[in-house]
């Protein structure tokens, strides 16, 4: 019985399934549009952001770890000294997600009733920094110090064998906060996953205040007034960052193969490498001929596809679901927004191209290290 549950969890945590499930559920839990928001309320998902919902989520997470910790393989990976902070991070992220959205939904209700956010009511009263703020800071500092002391006394900092450039550990992992990038390496070449995307992520984050021109929701928690902004942000942060980090930390073993949380890290696990490039798929499999010698003709299909993605998709989106967004943002803001959004979506798209068609590169010009 327990073994079959573990086997089931091992199966569904495979990125193909877990990622799909998360994406499908995501927009019902964090609806970006009015229509989805109504549906989200109708099926009762807004109850996640009540006290009962919070207890349910934290309880479920806690029970999962209690159940898991009894398993040797699970224990081995979760209690690895450098992985402990990420377990803590998971609990903290779920807690603060609930904490923020609960206050947001409570405020939405108040705003609906015409009362304004609770923060506005609090703000009418002024308090002195000494002692009202200073003692809160003191408590926070003492609490944080105790946490660090207990943590430091209870858990030794990891120290492995002395550095040896001739023996590389398998798997070689980057520090945990970069594992989202390392996970992207499965789907993109290093120049995209390690250089282009990090740069875009930074610039994109800095651009947020200039793209989001919705004046509402400044200085108080709300969801309803900023549905789209919050939904997109949470998609980037929870799914494309925290989820990928968790996958990279807990579920990637030797040779960066996937291992379920209850699976033994077998160095000899073999995964069939059947990835092919788009050009090979088009010419050799569909057209049944040799690859053309001319690089541009060979990679034409990939360039066309990527060109279409960045030209036709925005055009289509602008006249359909983003019509109002375009009106609200104006051409300049909207262009920046749509390019960033398409770049972010290229990651899940590439993931599905890999899983569905075994596509390695859309454009493969290894002669110039130019692979997309």
């Amino acid at each position: 019985m327990i073994e079959s549950i573990k086997l089931f969890i091992n199966q569904i945590t495979a990125p193909q399934i877990s990622f799909t499930a998360i994406i499908l559920l995501f927009f019902f839990i964090f609806p970006p549009s009015e229509g989805l928001y109504k549906f989200h309320k109708k099926i009762g998902l807004h109850k996640l952001w009540t006290n009962a919902g919070g207890k349910f989520m934290m309880g479920a997470l806690f029970l999962f770890f209690c159940f898991g910790i009894m398993d040797e393989n699970f224990r081995l990976i979760v209690t690895k000294a450098d992985n402990v902070p990420i377990v803590g991070l998971l609990f903290l992220v779920v807690f603060f997600l609930w904490f923020a959205l609960k206050q947001g939904y409570d405020n939405d209700k108040r705003i609906e009733e015409g009362k304004g956010p609770i923060e506005a009511e609090d703000a009418k009263e002024k308090v002195l920094v000494w002692p009202d703020l200073v003692y809160i800071e003191l408590i926070a500092i003492v609490g944080c110090s105790i946490l660090l002391l207990v943590w430091a006394m209870g858990l030794a900092a990891p120290l492995e064998a002395p550095a040896n450039p001739t023996v590389s550990p398998n798997p070689s992992k980057a520090p945990w906060y970069f594992l989202g990038l390392q996970e992207m390496l499965v789907y993109f070449d290093p120049w995209i996953a390690g250089v282009l995307f990090p740069a875009i992520i930074k610039l994109g984050f800095m651009a947020i205040p200039f793209i989001d021109n919705n004046p509402k929701g400044a200085g108080y928690y709300t969801f309803n007034e900023r549905k789209m902004a919050i939904s997109i942000f949470l998609f980037l942060w929870l799914v494309l960052w925290i989820f990928l980090i968790s996958t990279g930390t807990f579920l990637r073993g030797p040779n960066w193969n996937f291992f379920g949380p209850f699976e033994y890290w077998d160095t000899h696990k073999l995964e069939a490498l059947t990835n092919i490039n788009l050009s090979e798929l088009v010419y050799m499999i569909w057209l049944g001929q040799a690859l053309p010698d001319n690089i541009l003709i060979r990679e034409m299909w990939g360039f066309l596809l990527i060109g279409a993605y960045f030209v036709i998709t925005p055009a289509l989106l602008t006249v359909t679901i983003f019509k109002k967004v375009f009106q609200r943002l104006g051409p300049v803001r909207y262009s920046v927004f749509i390019v960033l959004l398409l770049l972010a979506c290229s990651l899940p798209i590439k993931m599905y191209l890999r899983w569905a068609f075994n596509i390695k590169y859309l454009v493969a010009i290894p002669e110039f290290f130019f692979n997309i």
Binding site: P85, F96, Q103, I118, P169, K173, V195
Partner: protein, 266 residues
């Protein structure tokens, strides 16, 4: 036992009247009046980071989560433990690993490295959560756009600090994690040997980007993670990045006040 006389001064009250106490604490005496509560914030260099008065929502933990303040506190913890660690640690391939083992085996109360490492992880987490809180309260909206940018820079610096510190114990975990990072640098477009357009920077047959002159080499000071990389990361970790970070923190805190204090409903 109860011979407490309300008019009799306690030792602490007597102490507060001494010349020494009054010399140190300008406000002096017990802080029992409204005026003194105002003055204590104004007269203290550390407390005057804060305004004297705040709207009540701004001090509530449920609004702020304390994450920004805790990030700063953890940064201070890291600075102090980091200074202590520097007394024992020599950044050379020969000594680094041995010094780290000595630190846990020979040094009394040797949990400084533990505190330093866990605080480093904690700081990454608190900074992320601070960013999340700022987003969820819409606090990046005008007039606070620029401070959000400074915040993103501080977030990047936090991760770079953590990344450079990762190499210093000079164990297998350290050099291979940095190797993964360095190989990504080699793939930088145009200025990395394994990046697209590596052959663009060239005059005739003379290529400017090669194994000993590219982004990876600049990062490591060599072709692989060795002595030069260790000293580079050490200097960046202990002096370079903290210095830059301090500058941005000064701007960050200053702008919180100049942009009208902590965000709130208008």
């Amino acid at each position: 036992m109860s011979n407490h006389d309300p008019n009799k001064e306690t030792l602490f009250q007597k102490m507060q009247k001494t010349q020494v106490f009054r010399a140190i604490f300008r406000t002096g005496g017990a802080i029992d009046t409204h005026k003194k509560r105002v003055l204590v914030t104004l007269n203290n260099v550390f407390l005057h980071l804060h305004p004297v008065r705040l709207p009540k929502h701004a001090v509530k933990v449920k609004y702020t989560w304390c994450m920004g303040g805790l990030s700063f506190f953890v940064f201070l913890v890291l600075t102090i433990t980091g200074i202590l660690l520097m007394f024992y640690y020599r950044p050379t391939v020969e000594y680094a690993y041995g010094d780290v083992t000595d630190l846990s085996e020979q040094v009394p109360l040797g949990i400084m490295r533990e505190i330093h490492r866990w605080a480093a992880h904690l700081m990454v987490i608190t900074v992320w959560l601070h960013m999340f809180r700022v987003f969820m309260t819409g606090s990046y909206k005008p007039p606070r756009e620029f401070n959000w940018i400074v915040g993103v820079i501080l977030l990047i610096l936090t991760m770079l600090m953590s990344f450079t510190g990762y190499l210093l114990p000079w164990d297998q975990l350290a050099i291979w994690a940095i190797t993964v990072g360095a190989n990504m640098a080699a793939a930088t477009p145009v200025i990395g040997t394994a990046g697209p357009g590596a052959s663009l920077l060239a005059i005739g047959d003379v290529n400017f980007v090669h194994g000993t002159a590219d982004a990876k080499f600049a990062m490591l000071g060599g072709r692989f993670v060795g002595e030069a990389a260790l000293i580079r990361f050490y200097v960046l970790h202990c002096i370079g990045l903290p210095f830059v970070m301090m500058l941005f923190m000064i701007v960050h805190f200053w702008r919180v006040r100049k942009d009208g204090g902590i965000s709130g409903p208008t």
